[in-house]
Symmetry: C2
């Protein structure tokens, strides 16, 4: 007998039929003798509908009141699932975040979980109930309803698994696991049986939007065994996210290829090469709440240097005008920009101990005549920026070069 936390996202509870399907899956686990805690999101589209309603009232909805309102989305789905479970003859009880005291700070719309009171859930589990908990929400010290921000239901699932010391936290989604890359681009892309926590972090932040990144960090911190599965398939073990490299002795050097085409780059040419210049350029950009991704500065010559960074394509115009203003004051020669770029990254814990990975990546792209505009590396990934028309070509070439279509142990 195991204690399993299962989290289902909005598409898995989008309508009455899907809620029934979730109930049937939960019932199977119960029949096998497991204890099951279910965490649910709102029906897909519901959170956006509620936010839209709020914005009709207040252009910038009050965060406390917004949380009060959007938290109702999960409250509806947990009640419906509890009913569906009872309809199958199971014992079930639904709880809001406040009812199982998922205590958070008071940062409305982006609260962080501080603690969970697992006693009530434990009691229900021990008396044979399926416990159904609203994801995405909690309560602050003052009793106000808070929400964890988009994708927060994943975090709720992991946090409950940690609090209950569950044997496994299963994240059900509309894909059946983590792939070596996007199968829409590379049909040979293969589902990974396991992926390390750190790889997952790199993959998630690079655009493999299977899991919310915060939940992965959370799982890492509390050593929660996390598994990504499809809620639309009955078979398959999904992808297990592991926290120790030793779990994966036979791990391939490279686990996957992530990419993003939502990027734009901005280069400040001929910047006087003295301390503080990066701060002067990026300060106003950060102040305007524009996230900066890659930052590259090369060695200078003749007392000037070139400084390049990437931002989300949507922020390109805003960032350009900010940087142009700064460039004038710091005496840079000019500012150039390009929003027709894409980022391609190879990710794998294996590359730590293997030389030649970067060489093989650059060689592969060179053979395809793809020019590298920027290069950035970390312990377990190498990212390059290329002209966006080469994105698919680059991903396919790398997938083949690193033999990601071939199964490993």
């Amino acid at each position: 007998m195991a204690l399993i936390v299962q989290k289902y996202g909005g598409t898995s509870v989008a309508n009455v039929e899907r809620i029934r399907a979730v109930a049937e899956r939960v019932a199977k686990f119960k029949m096998l003798g497991h204890q099951v805690v279910v965490v649910l999101s709102a029906m897909s589209g519901e959170t956006n509908r509620l936010i839209g309603l709020a914005k009709q009232i207040q252009a910038e909805p009050d965060p406390r009141e917004l949380d009060m309102m959007v938290s109702t989305g999960e409250q509806v789905t947990i009640a419906l699932l509890a009913m569906a479970l009872k309809d199958l003859g199971l014992k079930a009880k639904s709880y809001t975040g406040a009812q199982v005291r998922i205590l958070t700070d008071d940062a409305f719309t982006k609260a962080r979980i501080l603690s969970i009171d697992e006693a009530k859930m434990r009691r229900d589990l021990d008396s044979g109930h399926v416990v159904v908990v609203a994801g995405f929400q909690g309560v602050d010290e003052g009793g106000n309803i808070t929400t964890l921000g988009r994708g927060g239901s994943d975090t709720t699932g992991v946090a409950l698994a940690a609090a209950l010391k569950a044997d496994e936290c299963q994240i059900y989604t509309d894909v059946d696991g983590v792939y070596t890359t996007d199968p829409r681009i590379v049909p040979e892309a293969r589902r990974l049986k396991t992926v390390t926590f750190e790889e997952m972090l790199e993959m998630a932040s690079l655009g493999s939007k299977v899991l919310q990144i915060r939940s992965v960090e959370f799982a890492g911190k509390y050593k929660v065994k996390l598994r990504v599965l499809s809620s639309f398939q009955d078979e398959g073990d999904g992808t297990l996210i592991t926290f120790e490299e030793n779990d994966n002795m036979e791990q391939a050097i490279i686990s996957g290829i992530a990419f993003s085409r939502d990027e734009a780059k901005i280069t400040v040419v001929g910047v006087p090469d003295h301390p503080g210049i990066a701060y002067q350029i990026l300060g106003p950009v950060a102040d305007a709440n524009v996230d900066v991704d890659m930052i590259v500065q090369n060695v200078g010559h003749a007392n000037t240097t070139d400084f390049t960074f990437t931002v989300h394509r949507n922020d390109f115009a805003k960032a350009m005008s900010l940087v142009k203003a700064t460039a004038a004051t710091v005496g840079a020669r000019e500012v150039t920009g390009d929003d027709k770029i894409a980022k391609v990254s190879i990710v794998g814990v294996g590359m730590r101990s293997h030389v030649g990975i970067a060489k093989k990546m650059f060689e592969t792209l060179s053979k395809e005549n793809i020019n590298l505009q920027m290069i950035s590396t970390s312990e377990i990934k190498i990212s390059v920026v290329v002209e966006d028309k080469y994105l698919e070509l680059a991903v396919r070439a790398l997938h083949q070069a690193f033999e990601l279509d071939k199964a490993t142990a």
Copy 2:
């Protein structure tokens, strides 16, 4: 400065525009220096939508889970109103029933309020906030969400007014007060400036569905000054519900004419006239959860009597078959039924001390050649059952005979 509790029903918060209109009305009271607590229903139609969803999952939805779900309707409107108030520059805070600890018993879907913790609301009011509370809902000792049953938001309003010792509880609805009768039938019908608590009870139970009857009882018990007003008109003082007859020295003898066309009557003919027969006939009907309204049994002759009662028209077929089964076992001659009837009642505390009211009523109806099928009286009302095609005629004739179109002091 007064402390006012205002309750707005579903049609008053049916959409964004109406919620804004409510906010503007609340703002006016705030500007006058009053403290305001607002109680809201769900948007009209929302509760039914949620119940419909539940019934797709479970034919008889689990009551605890149903309450968990339908309570979200008010949670959305309170958040939206708080936003609208803030948009007008006011300080406002919304609370669910659980958050202001509207403690109820655990009779899900029809819970009764036990107590309210007014400390939090008092603190907010004293710091200049408008307090916006979800109607219709509470929380039981175990922390489970409960609802008070249909129309329960009126009860929440009155209960909050009682707990806070408010100066007045204003119930905003889609009519601007209590009328002498339905203006759709009698265009000369007049809004009553005041109506006594007992008259209101009779009017409410007789079909003047302005206020939920439980809330009126509640107001009577705690001596809450209750006023019915229109949320769609800016002017008008509505109708004040009073609790002491002395408040109405100049009160007309008759306050209003109530009626219902949703009735059906069942007569058991030739029942052996011995003790316990009424119980034997009505027992199975009550067990089947069919509400019985009027009950009339006349003096018997030849050791038998006729026994007649009325039920809601929707329950007619069910009640008939139950009574027919009973009639056979108790040895009654036959059972007859009629669902083409209507009930007309005159209501007024004044009739207690005035003779001749019944005579005038019967005389008026007689002049119109309307046959009376049943008669039933209480301290402050006289009800008659007539063929339903005479309903409008009877109401108009009585309205004129008792000069209800003429204003009193």
